[in-house]
Symmetry: C2
Subunit: 94 residues, 2 copies
Amino acid sequence: MLKELDPLLHSQLRLGVMSILMSVESAEFTFLKEKTSSTAGNLSVQLDKLSEAGYILVEKSFNGKKPLTTCSITKKGTKAFEEYVNALKDYIKK
Amino acid sequence: MLKELDPLLHSQLRLGVMSILMSVESAEFTFLKEKTSSTAGNLSVQLDKLSEAGYILVEKSFNGKKPLTTCSITKKGTKAFEEYVNALKDYIKK
DNA sequence: ATAATTTGGTTTATAATATAAACCAGTTTA
DNA sequence: TAAACTGGTTTATATTATAAACCAAATTAT
């Protein structure tokens, strides 16, 4: 029987964000936007969802005079990502 | 840069169906329904989509007097699945 | 015999999700 | 000082997933 795939992670953009955040200590909004080839609007919405779920931490500050949004993965997010990958393996193993 | 994930395959139910069909020669509707824990309605819709994309072959016959829907993966479907898994690997490798 | 239930689905309506377009405040550039 | 750019957010729309309603035929129960 196939396991459920965490719907919050089973989304191309959110998974991409989480994937990146798994491998760096933190990442800026613009960096995530570029790496995931997403629009700012879409990214903003999806970061909110991940943040509300407690999967990531979103910090808003200023870089001189420009707004700066920095994201990092939480412990809960790391765990969720690992469980997702585990569940997914059943789907993609041949 | 992260690759695009085939939206037709990046769906829990459709991916589950494809995953099963990758490992068997063919599977009946009721078998797929059970293995994926899906409702008949949802499964019916998703099989249509996979079929319209040419990823699976859906054959309707009769088992005695009962309708029997049998599905199998096509060459195109196999290729798409493999490409999806490949693209996905970039997302889930740590 | 006929009414209720089950099987094996399909169709249609609704809820959830993703995405894009419009917008905004502040900054820089022409 | 007006136009364009940066770094976003909000809102509207398109897409997708899901559930509910439905259907025909077969089976079971009364």
